[in-house]
């Protein structure tokens, strides 16, 4: 694949991508601010049509990574390609095929929803004859058509996110990135945003989201990259991450405090045992089933009042991979 696909992109008419070309290709990407390594030798690939999540705590390098993908920040070293275009050399082409929903929404709050969309349409060279219809369509899609003439400053956080999303989609981008799309908005608005993202997936769009909400990553993402301190810790589907790094979690409630914790720990495929009075949380690893043996040990000492066997959540996986909780 050649680094430069074209020297000129015609505004309003994004380049049609070859479906075999990765949507995003990041190779040994580094960004340093003085002595601080915000992104440290990051390498990953996002395929077209994927909803891909960058998961990591605040300051882990997610936003710096997407700023480099969009050309807002210049990498210290490494290569970023978007649909085959090298971001450094073809920034304008990349911006034409990219729809961005920044964390701050970047809306002109003094202006109406319509004026914001209209300005975006002009910046992206959307043909004048199509402009009005496309703005109306997008405002309808994000359910803001009835508020099109209202000032954005009068909108709730959720409405602003929806408007920012509608604006990002106005020029029909092939890749959409959403930086913390549901940060600071209520549950109902979060659900609405999730629905739009899932709609985009069904339309075959590539979506890149950064989040530190595991529930969100699990609900939306085909694949996840876990980033911490600018480094890639793991990349896989949520299910594979659970299988590879998870095992099962067995939660037991006994009648009295038991003393057989060491015996459980000594079993094969036991990763961790935590005891809080009469409550035991046992994390297993690998594919072997040790649950009958655990039940056997515990029931010999005390009555088991309750038992739950579940898959680990991503919080627990993140904790295991990085040694810190996600929102630390």
């Amino acid at each position: 694949m050649s680094a430069t696909r074209s020297n000129e992109v015609i505004p309003g008419q994004p380049a049609i991508g070859n479906r075999n070309v990765p949507a995003i290709e990041i190779q040994v990407l580094c960004k340093t601010f003085g002595k601080f390594h915000a992104v440290d030798h990051l390498t990953l690939t996002v395929q077209q049509g994927e909803v891909f999540g960058l998961l990591g705590p605040n300051g882990s390098g997610k936003t710096t990574t997407i700023n480099m993908i969009s050309g807002l920040t210049v990498p210290t070293s490494g290569v970023v390609k978007v649909l085959g275009y090298d971001v450094r050399h073809n920034a304008r082409e990349v911006r034409q095929i990219l729809g961005a929903v920044p964390q701050e929404t970047a809306l002109y709050e003094e202006l109406s929803a319509w004026t914001n969309m209209d300005f975006h349409a002009d910046l992206f060279g959307i043909p004048r004859r199509e402009k009005k219809q496309r703005i109306n369509d997008m405002l309808t899609l994000v359910q803001l058509a009835d508020r099109k003439n209202s000032r954005v400053s009068t909108f709730s956080g959720g409405m602003k996110r929806r408007l920012a999303l509608g604006r990002a989609l106005l020029h029909d981008p092939q890749l959409i990135y959403l930086d913390e799309p549901t940060l600071g908005i209520d549950v109902q608005a979060r659900r609405a945003i999730w629905d739009y993202i899932l709609q985009l997936r069904s339309q075959g769009k590539t979506v890149l989201i950064t989040t530190n909400y595991l529930e969100e990553a699990q609900a939306l993402c085909d694949r996840l990259a876990i980033i911490d301190h600018g480094k890639l810790i793991a990349v896989d589907t949520p299910e594979h991450l659970k299988q590879t790094y998870g095992g099962n979690v067995v939660e037991l409630e006994t009648a009295h405090v038991i003393t057989a914790v060491d015996k459980i720990h000594a079993l094969e495929n036991i990763k961790e045992v935590r005891q809080e009075k009469t409550h035991l949380t046992i994390t297993t690893q690998g594919t072997g089933n040790v649950v009958p043996q655990i039940i056997n040990i515990v029931s010999q000492e005390d009555e088991i009042r309750d038992i739950t066997i579940r898959e680990p959540n991503l919080d627990e996986i993140f904790l295991r991979l990085t040694g810190t909780a996600l929102r630390d």
Binding site: G12, N67, L72, E93, A100, P102, Y108, H120, L123, G125
Partner: protein, 370 residues
């Protein structure tokens, strides 16, 4: 769509958007229009009232010579005179309302007629050296002037004046034209700088930087938006200058051209500083911090060539100096330096092009921090 028509569309969109955003900030719009007018009016009032010393004259003699002496004082252009009794004058100087009391003695007429020396008492409130020295210079000048008129045969030395220009230029017409320039400086800086800083402060610059639009087109659009907004204040200032203060341009075309050129320079400088500083409040402080010293060192109050050499050097590295030179030409027809009209204009053009290029370059290299 061709690249050119796309860029023109971006320029138009950025201009339109900036004007709309600026108009939503009503207090800023009002300030933007009236601040320069405020400068003009307050400086004019300061000049009208502040340059002459309020002085009471106690006329203990009202004869023709005493009256003639009073008129000589009035013609010295150094006093704001009022006649008062001795007790009124004493009260006024004690209250700090006047700088001096000049007392014309009761035997003034008789002693003049008898060619005897006359003692004119001058009481000075010497709180302010500037005014004190004015009085110390102007009273002897009034006496000389009185003698020249009362006894023309006695005074043998008279000045023979040859003027460089066909007419005198009053201080108010000179100063108000300089103030017009400072209004352009402040208006241009504030409109463009706050607009640029606002984009960064509200993070809306991300929307612009994430688009495929050329940075040159964006900067041009933003500058044109600031130009339109600044013109509103310029029109008001010009209206006050021409219709209220009564200072009319001699060369209308030159005045309009130099006005636009000066605005372009300071709009570009404002865009540059706003992009670098990224915060409206900090920018506004800096804008005044830049504009006011530039005003004082650029020959606003009088030709800079009459000042000390260091001030002349400083003045000539600022565009305000050339703008004042060219506007004084447009209004009054004289050129304050020896460079000639074309060279002054070219220098101003150089500033404009340099700053426009620099501000576009800075925006081009600006990135969004996390």
């Amino acid at each position: 769509m061709s690249r050119i028509s796309y860029n023109l569309r971006v320029i138009w969109a950025c201009m339109k958007k900036d004007i709309k955003v600026s108009l939503t900030d009503r207090i800023f719009v009002i300030l933007g229009v009236f601040l320069p007018v405020n400068f003009l009016i307050l400086f004019s009032l300061f000049v009208l009232s502040g340059g002459q010393a309020p002085t009471a004259v106690v006329m203990n003699d009202t004869g023709p010579y005493a009256q003639q002496f009073y008129h000589s004082m009035a013609g010295a252009h150094s006093f704001i005179l009022q006649k008062a009794t001795a007790s009124e004058a004493s009260r006024l100087i004690q209250a700090g309302r006047i700088v001096a009391v000049v007392t014309i003695p009761a035997d003034f007429e008789t002693r003049i007629q008898n060619k005897q020396p006359v003692k004119v008492d001058v009481d000075i409130n010497n709180l302010n050296t500037d005014f004190t020295n004015d009085i110390r210079r102007a009273v002897p000048l009034s006496i000389t002037s009185f003698y020249a008129k009362a006894f023309p045969n006695v005074v043998t030395i008279v000045p023979h004046e040859t003027d460089q220009y066909t007419q005198d230029t009053g201080y108010i017409p000179y100063l108000t034209v300089s103030i017009l320039v400072i209004a352009l400086v402040v208006g241009g800086l504030l409109q463009s700088g706050t607009s640029a800083a606002r984009e960064w402060e509200n993070a809306t610059m991300k929307e612009v930087l994430l688009s495929p639009a050329s940075r040159w087109a964006v900067v041009t659009g933003k500058m044109l938006g600031a130009l339109v907004m600044s013109l509103a204040s310029v029109i008001v200032v010009l209206a006050v200058l021409i219709f209220i203060i009564g200072v009319h341009p001699l060369h209308w075309g030159a005045m309009i051209g130099f006005t636009l050129l000066t605005l372009a320079i300071f709009i570009a400088l404002g865009t540059l500083l706003g992009t670098l500083i990224k915060q409206r409040q900090a920018f506004t402080g800096l804008a005044f911090g830049v504009a006011i010293p530039l005003f004082f060192v650029s020959g606003a109050f009088g030709p800079i060539s009459f000042n000390v050499p260091i001030l002349q050097v400083i003045a000539q590295i600022t565009p305000v100096y050339y703008a004042i030179v060219l506007q004084q030409y447009a209004f009054h027809g004289f050129t304050l330096n020896t460079y000639g009209l074309a060279a002054n204009t070219l220098i101003l053009f150089g500033f404009a092009i340099g700053l426009i290029l620099l501000s576009a370059l800075v925006l081009r290299r600006s990135t969004v921090a996390n």
